[in-house]
């Protein structure tokens, strides 16, 4: 995918809608809806690690949390002047990526894969959650940033960009919307190029048959680690965007429920293609949000059922299966077989 004219026309149409959307909505709604876009990076990262590379990782929310807290600690301590706001974003993502590199090194160079990879990454995530949850006491401060345990850390500034002769703070509004949308387009296109590259080919080969990939002379551990770190950096980007958007992050962002949600978005949408993942994530997130009006426990149960339904009936993912169906219908219409 990502090579034909049909693909690119669809891409342009969707992008045009996304760009035009704020013209027809008020700033408050637009600002709220950035929430959905914030998560897509983490989902795209998981699509790369799991859908393409075949490693089911529950670690995305850990990297999300590490980056979110890092952003908070950095900006609360050093502020956002002189471009430090932007620098904090980059450092926070780098910390998450570094954490993933260390963890991934032990996992992949220790040849841990399959179900054990899932177990270890989930354990790490939950250990982080536990750790952050017990930091309620006043002794748990880093500089002037209080970690604040289960109540969550707050008071960090919003995303702040250096600008000519000053800086602009992006509160949830149309400006931030365009920035996040722009990031999403860049990340999406970057991933598109990546998965269509030699590196992307090898990731898929790892998913299909790691032994064969190694016996073609590839040091598969490096490719697994590479995919894992890129995916983690994207989760970190989500973490920073989420934290600066709501000026808030809590340990429950790394809870077992939170860790399961990206898996559900990606599985339900379709993990074998980043487009299906992107659409699926936005659809499932919106549905989840709509259901939460009736109670969040209820929404979670529906999500669980959705996952079971998907795994049983449309294992490639609902969006991916819909795409395949659409493709074969078009084929028939065009007189194909």
């Amino acid at each position: 995918m990502g090579r034909g004219p049909a693909f690119w026309s669809a891409f342009v149409v969707v992008l045009a809608f996304a760009l035009a959307y704020p013209l027809f909505a008020d700033g408050y709604d637009v600002g709220n809806n950035i929430y959905f876009l914030n998560w897509t990076f983490m989902a795209l990262g998981l699509s790369l690690i799991w859908g393409y590379g075949g490693s089911l990782s529950f670690g995305q929310t850990a990297f999300f949390g590490v980056a979110g807290y890092s952003y908070g600690i950095l900006t609360i301590n050093f502020g956002t002047a002189y471009g430090f706001g932007l620098l904090s974003v980059l450092i926070a993502i780098a910390i998450a990526a570094l954490f993933a590199a260390v963890l991934g090194y032990f996992l992949f160079f220790g040849r841990i894969s399959g179900i054990f990879l899932g177990i270890v990454t989930l354990s790490v995530t939950l250990a982080l959650e536990r750790f952050m949850a017990q930091t309620a006491g006043p002794q748990w401060t880093i500089g002037s940033a209080r970690l604040n345990g289960f109540n969550g850390m707050s008071g960090m500034p919003p995303l702040t960009l250096p600008w000519f002769g000053g800086e602009i703070s992006l509160y949830p509004d149309i400006g931030l919307y365009y920035l996040v949308l722009c990031l999403l387009v860049v990340v999406y296109l970057g991933l598109r190029i990546l998965v269509n590259s030699k590196f992307g080919n090898i990731l898929v080969a790892l998913r299909e048959n790691p032994q064969r990939a190694e016996m073609l002379g590839y040091d598969i551990r490096k490719y697994q680690l590479g995919g894992f770190v890129i995916g983690a950096a994207l989760a970190g980007l989500s973490g920073v965007l989420y934290t600066s958007w709501g000026q808030y992050i809590t340990p429950s962002n790394m809870s077992i429920t939170a860790a399961a949600l990206p898996i559900i978005w990606v599985a339900v949408g379709g993990r074998s293609d980043i487009t299906a993942t992107l659409i699926g994530t936005l659809v499932v997130l919106s549905a989840f949000q709509a259901l939460t009006i009736y109670g969040s426990q209820y929404a979670l149960v529906v999500m669980g059922l959705l996952l079971v339904f998907t795994v049983l009936l449309a294992p490639k993912g609902l969006i991916a299966n819909a795409g395949i169906l659409l493709g074969s219908l078009l084929d028939r219409k065009n007189g194909g077989k």
Binding site: N201, I202, V204, M215, G217, Y218, D219
Partner: protein, 238 residues
Amino acid sequence: MALLQTHNLNKHFGGLHVTADVSFSLEPGKIHCLIGPNGAGKSTFFRLLLGEHQPSSGTIVFDGQDITRLKSFQRINRGMSVKFQVPGIFGALSAQQNLQIALQHRLDSLDLNAEVERLLDFLQLREVADQQAGNLSHGLKQWLEIGMAISLKPKLLLLDEPTAGMSPEETFMTGEIVKQLNAQGMTVLAVEHDMAFVRQVADRVSVLHFGRIFAEGTIDEIVADERVAAIYLGQSHD
């Protein structure tokens, strides 16, 4: 000088002595077949050569270098390549993509497409090029994997039962493929049960029995060897 040499290679799985003091030598440019009853340790010997198992003792020298401690991919990059007993392909990808992934290790995109085309023709995979590899017939999977293995232009090609599940015609064609590859300079070590295939291709034959090299010679010498006949007969009795 031998292309591949093992010295007193041993492998134990618990109490099971699966590779026993194997000192084996493979001349460059030859097609060498390894035969032996089921469970004789042929695939295990391959895995030791490829670094999937570490030997309990002994050394492996390939192309003049001791590779006993090298990782699998490092051995591959020194000029080994393998087709496994159970077809090892990328099932969800097309036959063509399978070849691309194998070839991209060595070639950049321009030469790559030409080489994919050449291999599709050479292995008679042209008609199924766009089909999912996992859906191919057993015989075509074997050829596809041979195609992936030779994509690396190896000095030594290891084939574990390349004709298993093939019709006599397909088996014959596989033999011709192997002979062509050998004529281009590839040394081949093949595990095979099919004696017609062994006769068709082998310059030399070794018999593995209970993990030991039991006999070695030309196909005629091996067939004439009564002790070899006895182990095959003995097997059909138990």
